[in-house]
C-alpha cells in the first residue's frame, strides 16, 4: 500500500508549525497506524531528518497517551478505537491523510503531534477522588453497591484521559472528561459524602482552564474511544446545579478535602 501523509511539524511550543508531505510506500495492511509512522520515522532518521514526535505507550488502547487528528477526526475513522489500535487495512491504497495535533487552547502544542494535557490532571486534583487514607477502609463487602450502579459507574470510569473529546468539540470543552469522573464517583455510595463539593470544585477547575463550555453538540461522544455517553455531562450539570443551590462551601472548605 501507498499512503500520503501531510503531517503537522512544529519544533517547539513557540515555533511556528506547518504541514509537511511524506510518501509512505512500504505500508502493509496489517500494520497499525503508529507502526506506519515508526517505519516512516526510521526512513527519516536514515536521511538524517528529525523523526515525527508523537505520543504513545501501551499500544493497546488503554493508557490514553496516543491521539491526533486524522483528516480532522480525533483518533481517525474507526469508532471506539484509539489511533494505536487503528490498522491500515481500513484505508485505501493511495489515500492522502492529514495528521494534526489536538487543537485546543487548553492543550498547547509541545512538538509536532504532542500536546500538553496537564490541564486534565488539574481537574482531577480538584476533587476527582474519594478522600480515604490507606488503612482506614471498612471491609469491602460492608458497603453493598447495587450491580446496576456499579456497572454504570464502570461505564464512566473507563475514560482513558486521552483528550479526544476536547479536540473534537467545537468549543474545546472538557465536559465529557469531567462529567465522566463526577459520574463515576457520584454513582457509588462511597462517593456520596463529597459529591456536592466535588461537582462544584471540579467544574470550577475546568472553567479556570482554557476549555470552552458544553453546548450539547455531541462530537465528544462520537469520537470517544471508550464510547462514553454524554449522559455523564447531564449528570455533571445536575450535580453542579443541585450543589450550587443546596450548599455554597467557602473556598477553604471546598479545598479542605485533602
Amino acid at each position: 500500500m501507498r499512503i500520503i501523509l501531510n503531517v503537522w511539524r512544529q519544533a517547539g511550543p513557540r515555533e511556528p508549525g506547518r504541514l509537511i508531505r511524506y510518501e509512505c510506500d512500504k505500508v502493509n495492511e496489517d500494520m497499525s497506524f503508529l507502526e506506519m509512522l515508526d517505519v516512516l520515522n526510521e526512513e527519516l532518521i536514515e536521511r538524517n531528518e528529525e523523526p515525527i514526535a508523537f505520543e504513545h505507550d501501551c499500544r493497546e488502547g488503554i493508557c490514553g497517551s496516543c491521539g491526533f487528528l486524522i483528516g480532522g477526526v480525533a483518533h481517525g475513522p474507526m469508532p471506539g478505537t484509539t489511533v494505536c489500535q487503528l490498522h491500515m487495512r481500513h484505508f485505501r491504497d493511495g489515500e492522502e491523510l492529514t495528521l494534526e495535533p489536538w487543537r485546543a487552547t487548553a492543550f498547547p502544542v509541545l512538538k509536532d503531534l504532542i500536546v500538553d494535557r496537564s490541564a486534565l490532571d488539574r481537574i482531577i486534583q480538584a476533587g476527582g477522588y474519594i478522600s480515604i487514607n490507606a488503612g482506614s477502609a471498612p471491609d469491602a463487602n460492608a458497603v453493598p453497591v447495587p450491580k446496576a450502579d456499579a456497572d454504570r459507574a464502570m461505564d464512566a470510569a473507563q475514560c482513558i484521559g486521552c483528550g479526544a473529546c476536547v479536540a473534537a468539540c467545537p468549543n474545546a470543552s472538557a465536559s465529557l472528561f469531567t462529567g465522566a469522573k463526577i459520574s463515576h464517583l457520584g454513582l457509588l455510595p462511597q462517593g456520596q459524602p463529597e459529591r456536592a463539593a466535588r461537582a462544584i470544585r471540579m467544574v470550577n477547575a475546568m472553567n479556570d482552564e482554557a476549555f470552552g463550555s458544553c453546548t450539547n453538540i455531541g462530537e465528544c461522544e462520537a469520537v470517544c474511544p471508550k464510547r462514553i455517553s454524554i449522559e455523564v455531562i447531564a449528570r455533571m450539570h445536575r450535580d453542579y446545579l443541585r450543589a450550587a443551590w443546596s450548599q455554597r462551601p467557602s473556598k477553604q472548605e471546598a479545598g479542605g478535602a485533602g
Binding site: 517547539g12 502493509n28 495492511e29 496489517d30 500494520m31 497499525s32 503508529l34 507502526e35 506506519m36 515508526d38 526510521e42 532518521i45 536514515e46 523523526p51 514526535a53 505520543e55 504513545h56 505507550d57 501501551c58 499500544r59 488503554i62 493508557c63 490514553g64 497517551s65 489500535q85 490498522h87 509541545l110 504532542i114 500538553d116 496537564s118 490532571d121 482531577i124 486534583q125 476527582g128 477522588y129 474519594i130 480515604i132 487514607n133 490507606a134 488503612g135 482506614s136 477502609a137 471498612p138 469491602a140 463487602n141 458497603v143 453493598p144 453497591v145 447495587p146 450491580k147 456499579a150 456497572d151 464502570m154 470510569a157 473507563q158 484521559g161 464517583l185 462511597q190 478535602a257 485533602g258
Partner: protein, 637 residues
C-alpha cells in the same frame, strides 16, 4: 558482602506483626521534615507516593509520562487476587500463600509471600473504599472469578480493565495529595542516575523531557517503582516506553540485581505479523477455558484451517497433558507451542503461531454464549488481525510478559544501598521463578499502600543523614556525568537507527535467553551482545538536539542500558544450571521434557553485584529455606 534478608523471627503468621512492632516510628511532627523521592507512578509507585504523603512526608514524585495515570499497570486485564474467601470455597491466607510459593516453583522467600497473602485482603478494602468499580453480584456484594488454575475463586475484577481501575484509584489518591501540597509531581521527567552520598541513596538525576534540562533532586530516601525490563526483548507485551534505566543505573551504584534471568512468557498473545511489528498484544488466558489449541499433524501443511480434517490435526496439549489439557500453566503451554513450531508445524505466514479454535465451543454452547464470555477479546483480535475468531481459529504465540527478576531487596524492601527502596515489578519480587495470574497487581499495591510506608519510616528514624542540597559535589558530579552521556550519544551520528539495533538485541535474547536456554546459546549470546554494544556506541544515529523533546535520544539511552542488562540476564541463566518456572535450561529436563529443578544446588536467589566497567559482576546468593511449603516436582499429566 553478605545479603541479609532481615526476615523477622517467629512463626510465619506473626513475622509481619513482629516486624511492625520492632520498627521505629517517626513522630508525626517530624515526618514533614523528611523528603522521599518516588520514581514511577504505576500501582506500586502511585500508591506509595500517595500513602507517604498521607502520613505527612514530603514526596517528590517523578514519571516519564505526561501524566501519572499512564503507567503500564493500566494495561493489566484479568484481575487481582485476595484471600477474602467471600465465595466460601475454602480459600484462606495460607492457601494463597501456598499456591504462590508453589506456583513460583520454590524460588521465592516464604516470609515475603506470606505477608503478601495477609495484606491482599486489605488491598481490596482500600480499593473498594476509593471507588474502584469492581464487578458486583445482584445483592451488591463483590463478584469473583477463578483464574490461572487456582482451585478457588479469589480474583476480583473490573471487566477486562482491572489494572486500569486500580491504577486510577492510586492516581486519584496521588492527585489528592498533589492538591493538598504534600506531593510535588514531576511528570515528563526521566530518571537517569542515582545520587549516593556516604553510601546512602540521597537523590536522583533527571532529564526534563520537554526542555532537555538535566537536574539533581535530593531527598532523605529514594524509592524506585519503575517496573519491569521485558522490553530488553524488543517485542513484548510491555508498553513501548517501559525500560530498565532507573534500576540499571542503581545497579551500577551497587544495588544487587536479583535473578535477572527470571522472565515470564505468556502463551496467548497475537503473533508477530511482520518486521515492522512494534509490540505484542496479550489475549487473556481465560480464552483457554473454551478454546482448543492445535497445529497440523504434518510438517509444512499450509492448507486453510477449515480444510484440515480432524484426523490430520494435533491437539498437542490435550495429547501430552490429558488431565490438564489446554489449561496447563503458562510456562508449560508456552514451551509446548515453541516445540511444535520448531518442528515446522507452526501456522500463519511466519510459521510462528498455533491455532486457538473455538468452533467446538460454538457448536456446543452457541455463538451467543461465546460472545458473552469473550466478545471484547474477539473484537480486539479482529481489530488487530482483520480475522473473526467466530469464523476462523485465532492464531496465538507466546510472548514476553513480565520479569520476576529485579533489584534485590530485603524483607523491608530495601536494596543493598541503604536508603534505596525498590517496589513492584522493579524488585526481584515475591513470585519466585514464575508469577501466577492476578498476582502482579496484588504485589504492587501491597508494597505501595501497606509495606513501604512503614519500612521507610523505620529507616528514617534509625539513620543519621547529613544535610545536603542539589549543589552537593556528588550531585553536581552526577549531573555532569549524565550530561556527558547524552552528548556522547548525540555525537556518534552513525548509520544505524536505535530501533534496528534494539530489534537485533531482542532477537538474540528471544533466541537464546527466551523460552528455552542452553549453555552454548547463552555463551554465544553473551559474545554477540558485547559486539552489538560496540556497534551501538560506534554506529548509532541519534538525530536531533539535546534540548527539547527528543524521543530518539530517550530511546537510545534506554537501549544503552538494555544492551548491558541483556548480558547479565544471559550470565545469570548460564550460571543457574537447573530448570525452574520460566527458566528452562534444555540440559535440565525430565524424560517427559518437563523442568527439572536442582534444590540441592540452586534453592537460592542469585544476586549480582556490579564490579566496575569491563569486570565480571560478582554472584552472591541468598539461600531459600522452605519450612512450610515443601518443594515437590510439578506435574500436569
Amino acid at each position: 558482602m553478605r545479603l541479609d534478608s532481615r526476615v523477622p523471627s517467629g512463626p510465619i503468621e506473626k513475622k509481619w506483626d513482629n516486624c511492625r512492632f520492632e520498627m521505629k516510628l517517626v513522630n508525626p511532627a517530624n515526618k514533614r521534615k523528611f523528603t522521599v523521592i518516588v520514581v514511577g507512578t504505576g500501582l506500586a509507585g502511585g500508591s506509595a507516593a500517595a500513602t507517604l504523603a498521607e502520613l505527612g512526608y514530603n514526596v517528590l514524585c517523578f514519571c516519564h509520562h505526561d501524566s501519572p495515570r499512564r503507567a503500564h499497570s493500566i494495561a493489566a486485564q484479568g484481575g487481582i487476587n485476595a484471600a477474602k474467601n467471600y465465595q466460601n470455597d475454602g480459600d484462606s491466607i495460607y492457601r494463597l500463600f501456598y499456591d504462590t510459593v508453589k506456583g513460583g516453583d520454590f524460588r521465592a522467600r516464604e516470609a515475603n509471600v506470606y505477608r503478601l497473602a495477609q495484606i491482599s485482603v486489605n488491598i481490596i478494602d482500600q480499593c473498594a473504599a476509593q471507588g474502584v468499580p469492581f464487578a458486583r453480584e445482584y445483592g451488591g456484594t463483590l463478584a469473583n472469578r477463578s483464574f490461572g488454575g487456582a482451585q478457588v475463586s479469589r480474583t476480583f475484577y473490573a471487566r477486562g480493565q482491572t489494572g486500569q481501575q486500580l491504577l486510577l484509584g492510586a492516581y486519584q489518591a496521588l492527585e489528592r495529595q498533589v492538591d493538598a501540597g504534600r506531593v510535588r509531581m514531576m511528570p515528563r521527567h526521566e530518571m537517569l542516575d542515582l545520587i549516593v552520598v556516604n553510601g546512602q541513596a540521597r537523590g536522583i538525576v533527571t532529564r526534563d523531557m520537554v526542555s532537555g534540562a538535566i537536574a539533581a533532586h535530593v531527598a532523605d530516601a529514594v524509592v524506585l517503582a519503575t517496573g519491569g525490563y521485558g522490553n530488553v526483548f524488543y517485542l513484548s507485551t510491555n508498553a513501548k516506553n517501559s525500560n530498565c534505566t532507573a534500576i540499571w543505573r542503581a545497579y551500577k551504584h551497587g544495588a544487587a540485581f536479583g535473578n535477572p534471568c527470571f522472565t515470564q512468557i505468556h502463551p496467548t498473545c497475537i503473533p508477530v505479523s511482520g518486521e515492522y511489528q512494534s509490540k505484542l498484544t496479550l489475549m487473556s488466558e481465560s480464552l483457554r477455558n473454551d478454546g482448543r489449541i492445535w497445529v497440523p499433524a504434518a510438517k509444512g501443511d499450509k492448507r486453510k484451517p477449515a480444510a484440515i480434517p480432524e484426523a490430520e490435526r494435533d491437539y498437542y496439549l490435550e495429547r501430552r497433558y490429558p488431565s490438564f489439557g489446554n489449561l496447563v500453566p503458562r510456562d508449560v503451554a508456552s514451551r509446548a507451542a515453541k516445540a511444535v513450531c520448531d518442528e515446522g508445524r507452526g501456522v500463519g505466514e511466519t510459521g510462528l503461531g498455533v491455532y486457538l479454535d473455538f468452533s467446538d465451543a460454538i457448536r456446543r454452547l452457541g455463538r451467543q454464549v461465546i460472545a458473552e464470555r469473550y466478545g471484547n477479546l474477539f473484537e480486539m483480535y479482529e481489530r488487530i488481525t482483520g480475522e473473526s475468531p467466530y469464523e476462523v481459529p485465532m492464531r496465538i504465540f507466546p510472548a514476553i510478559h513480565y520479569t520476576m527478576g529485579g533489584l534485590w531487596v530485603d524483607y523491608r524492601l530495601m536494596s543493598t544501598i541503604p536508603g534505596l527502596f525498590v517496589i513492584g515489578e522493579a524488585n526481584f519480587s515475591d513470585h519466585g521463578a514464575n508469577r501466577l495470574g492476578a498476582s502482579a497487581l496484588m504485589q504492587g499495591l501491597a508494597d505501595g499502600y501497606f509495606i513501604l510506608p512503614y519500612t521507610v519510616g523505620d529507616y528514617l528514624a534509625n539513620t543519621k543523614l547529613e544535610k545536603i542540597s542539589a549543589d552537593h559535589a556528588e550531585a553536581r558530579g552526577r549531573v555532569e556525568q549524565v550530561t556527558g552521556f547524552g552528548r556522547r550519544l548525540l555525537s556518534i551520528r552513525g548509520r544505524r537507527t536505535v530501533d534496528s539495533i534494539h530489534r537485533e538485541l531482542g532477537k538474540l535474547m528471544w533466541e537464546h535467553c527466551g523460552m528455552e536456554r542452553r549453555q552454548a546459546g547463552l555463551e554465544h549470546a553473551i559474545g554477540r551482545i558485547a559486539e552489538l554494544r560496540e556497534e551501538f556506541w560506534k554506529n548509532v544515529n541519534v538525530v536531533g538536539p539535546g534540548e527539547g523533546i527528543n524521543q530518539s535520544l530517550e530511546k537510545a539511552g534506554r537501549l544503552a542500558d538494555f544492551l548491558e542488562l541483556g548480558e547479565l540476564m544471559c550470565r545469570d541463566a548460564l550460571e543457574r544450571r537447573e530448570s525452574c518456572g520460566g527458566h528452562f535450561r534444555a540440559e535440565w529436563q525430565t524424560a517427559e521434557g518437563e523442568a527439572l529443578r536442582d534444590d540441592e544446588n540452586f534453592a537460592h536467589v542469585a544476586a549480582w553485584l556490579y564490579q566496575g566497567e569491563g569486570r565480571a559482576p560478582a554472584r552472591l546468593t541468598e539461600p531459600l529455606s522452605f519450612e512450610y511449603v515443601h518443594p515437590a516436582q510439578r506435574s500436569y499429566k
